[in-house]
């Protein structure tokens, strides 16, 4: 009887979370799968929406752009965040000030920073004015298909690096000092201390940062929508923007749902591979 009561109490306290997961996660996911299998005007399930999007050069291009973007942005952000975390982990007089400065962009809503960056990126804007004294001619930035994606990467990294750095600093501060002392006595140099103490000890926070950053970058939307709307010539048409365009601008719910399912599968595969890799490397270093 007591056990049963405890179960009820547990259920009662868990109910908000369970209901939220069902209503906000599982149900929409099922709805997306349902619509993705319904072709326009069709009454029975088929893979027509999937055949359609994979036959559509715009969607294929957006997948390709998303892959290129992910391959560049994730290592870049994590390397920068790790570098800054190592730097900021030192007890220097103004570390607090610099940490705050690096973390500050996180406190600004992404949409607001995008609007500000849009003004800076204008061909007659701030960045070109700063570059001019160094003899660098006016750059087209967001108006050029060769530079627009790089501009987006710069903007999201400006926001993201500080955020991910905070997790890594927390991880660094968790590493017992005794480990460093031990390897120093063994004669380890700076690189060896980093390679054999810091990195293995940082495996858990790094795994988290790697996975969370990858997912966040797959889902980047506001900067693209505000800065380029996927252009010029589809060069920044990341998959979230493509899904949005299909669902809300062209009103093609079926193909948007199919694209969403493809995105979810893609993210799942990448994250699973990442978990596997991080675990493997963890096993080896033990």
């Amino acid at each position: 009887m007591n056990r049963r009561r405890n179960l009820y109490a547990a259920l009662f306290f868990l109910a908000p979370a369970i209901i939220s997961v069902i209503v906000l996660r599982l149900w929409p996911a099922l709805v997306a799968v349902h619509y993705s299998l319904l072709a326009p005007r069709a009454t029975s399930y088929s893979f027509e929406n999937y055949t359609y999007i994979f036959g559509d050069p715009v969607f294929r291009n957006s997948l390709w752009i998303t892959l290129i973007y992910s391959i560049i942005v994730n290592p870049l952000q994590i390397a920068a965040a790790l570098g800054l975390a190592l730097l900021m982990n030192n007890r220097l007089p103004t570390t607090g000030f610099w940490r705050t400065l690096i973390l500050l962009p996180v406190a600004i809503p992404q949409s607001v920073s995008a609007v500000i960056w849009a003004v800076a990126f204008r061909p007659d804007g701030l960045i070109n004015a700063v570059l001019a004294p160094f003899g660098i001619g006016p750059q087209p930035f967001l108006t050029s298909p060769d530079q627009a994606l790089a501009c987006i990467i710069l903007m999201v990294s400006w926001v993201g690096v500080g955020y991910w750095m905070t997790f890594l600093i927390a991880g660094l501060q968790d590493i017992p000092k005794s480990l460093y002392e031990a390897v120093t006595i063994d004669g380890a140099n700076r690189w060896q201390r980093f390679r054999y103490v810091t990195l293995p000890q940082l495996r858990r926070p790094l795994t988290f940062v790697l996975v969370a950053d990858t997912v966040a970058n797959f889902l980047v939307f506001a900067p693209v929508q505000i800065l380029t709307k996927g252009g010029p010539q589809g060069s920044t048409n990341l998959i979230m923007n493509e899904v949005y365009t299909r669902a809300f601008l062209q009103g093609d719910r079926g193909s948007a749902s199919a694209a969403t399912v493809v995105l979810v599968l893609l993210v799942l595969i990448v994250v699973l591979v990442q978990f596997r890799l991080m675990n493997d490397s963890g096993e080896q270093s033990r």
Partner: protein
């Protein structure tokens, strides 16, 4: 455990009592009104309506112009009852009616017919049914900066129909003004938007871009379309118009005195009059030599969501805005855009003439003949929404220097596959 259960029970009881007492007080009906306008634009018409119907309160929600489509798709498409009335860009009526996003308003047909012309009535109807009430229409003028023209020794273009310049003439004058110090020569208000650019293709004789019985066949790669698109591309390539300035910042290029010629709507009178030190005049929109003069037209209409929580009150509100001349006039009191209500229009156009003694009379003359003779509506098609989105992207690429023929061909291919799904 028991005490927990008792507490939860008490909490639920209290909540339900508060909810019940709230319902007892809620005699006033609240209508939710969604637009892409500023609060101040719709404030006069809402105040006028609330005075007439003290039991109805209208709450205005504004979203950015570019998000209007997405908002309606998400909220009305999601059968959300919290939007009662919304503004709908009139060429989107067929697509929205086809998807069930607009309530049938046939009951207002006779009353609306008496106060609106056939064009205004036509654009809010689809397959013989009426799905919105006409509200505003639009036209465009070519504004010019008097100081920049003076500096270059260019005489002011006339306001009469026969004074209309060709696009090539305007570009020549624009280059002359730039040589004399103007930062930019000639630019359109709404870059990349089909509304603004349709006149280029129609003026040269390339057509609207959609053909076929239901306007579901794209036709944007014909030689005339390519020629007009090359012209648009050259404005930016040659530095006559700036690249990288977003739509909502375009009019500031004119108000800051950086551009000689600027094509825009009558809604610019207010900001331009308010701009300190800006001396401007108006002329008719140019045309292509050998082609015909064409200006864009139509604007927002007002519709009711089929899922509206308060359809009866919503009907009273749209009737007041569209059919009641007083309401129609109040709807443009803070936004000088022509109302479709013919009685309100008479007062409106005299107001335009009085707005600014320098440009008012010329503006009234131009707007009167453009609205009567040279306005071309956007194509009516259930595929218009998708068409517009794809075209706007293509225009953006062309403006940023993409090859014109390739871009139009890609857009045509995309339209073929997208429209095929809509048919």
């Amino acid at each position: 455990m028991r005490s927990l259960r008792t507490r939860v029970g008490l909490l639920l009881l209290a909540t339900s009592m508060i909810a019940a007492s709230g319902a007892a007080f809620a005699e006033q009906v609240t209508l939710n009104f969604l637009t892409a306008e500023k609060d101040e634009t719709v404030a006069p018409v809402i105040a006028g309506f609330e005075k007439l119907h003290p039991d109805i309160k209208v709450v205005h929600t504004t979203v950015p112009f570019d998000s209007m489509n997405a908002t309606i798709e998400a909220r009305v498409g999601g059968q959300d009852s919290s939007i009662d009335v919304f503004l709908v860009d009139s060429p989107r009526v067929p697509a929205m009616a086809n998807r069930g996003y607009l309530m049938n308003l046939n009951e207002f047909r006779d009353a609306a017919d008496k106060v609106s012309n056939d064009v205004a009535m036509g654009v809010v109807s689809w397959k013989g049914d009426m799905y919105a009430l006409p509200l505003w229409t639009s036209t465009q003028l070519m504004y010019y900066n008097k100081d920049l023209l003076d500096k270059a020794g260019i005489p002011y273009p006339g306001a009469k129909e026969e004074d209309r310049l060709t696009y090539d003439q305007v570009v020549d004058l624009a280059k002359k003004a730039q040589a004399a110090g103007a930062k930019f020569g000639f630019l359109p208000e709404q870059i990349d938007r089909y509304y603004q650019l349709q006149p280029l293709f129609e003026s040269i004789g390339g057509g609207s871009g959609l053909t076929g019985p239901d306007n579901l066949t794209p036709d944007i790669t014909n030689p005339k379309w390519i020629e007009a698109a090359e012209f648009y591309s050259s404005l930016f390539k040659d530095g006559i118009a700036p690249r990288g300035v977003p739509n909502d910042q375009m009019s500031s290029v004119f108000t800051s005195g950086d551009v000689a010629f600027y094509i825009g709507g009558p809604w610019q009178f207010r900001p331009f009059n308010a701009a300190e030190g800006l001396k401007y005049g108006v002329a008719p929109v140019p045309y292509f030599k050998g082609g015909k003069p064409v200006v864009p037209t139509d604007s927002w209409a007002v519709g009711i969501s089929p899922y509206a929580a308060h359809p009866d009150e919503a009907k009273k509100f749209v009737e007041y805005m569209s059919i009641n001349p007083e309401g129609a006039l109040l709807s443009v009191a803070n936004n000088p855009i022509p109302p479709t209500n013919e009685e309100a229009y008479k007062t409106y156009i005299d107001g335009i003439a009085a707005l600014n003694p320098d440009v008012g009379p010329a503006a009234k003359e131009i707007m009167t003949y453009e609205l009567a003779k040279n306005s071309v509506s956007r194509p009516r098609s259930i595929g218009y929404v998708a068409f517009e989105e794809i075209m706007n992207r293509a225009f953006s690429d062309i403006r940023n220097g993409a090859d014109v023929t390739t871009t139009l061909q890609q857009a045509q291919d995309q339209l073929n596959s997208t429209l095929a799904r809509i048919q």
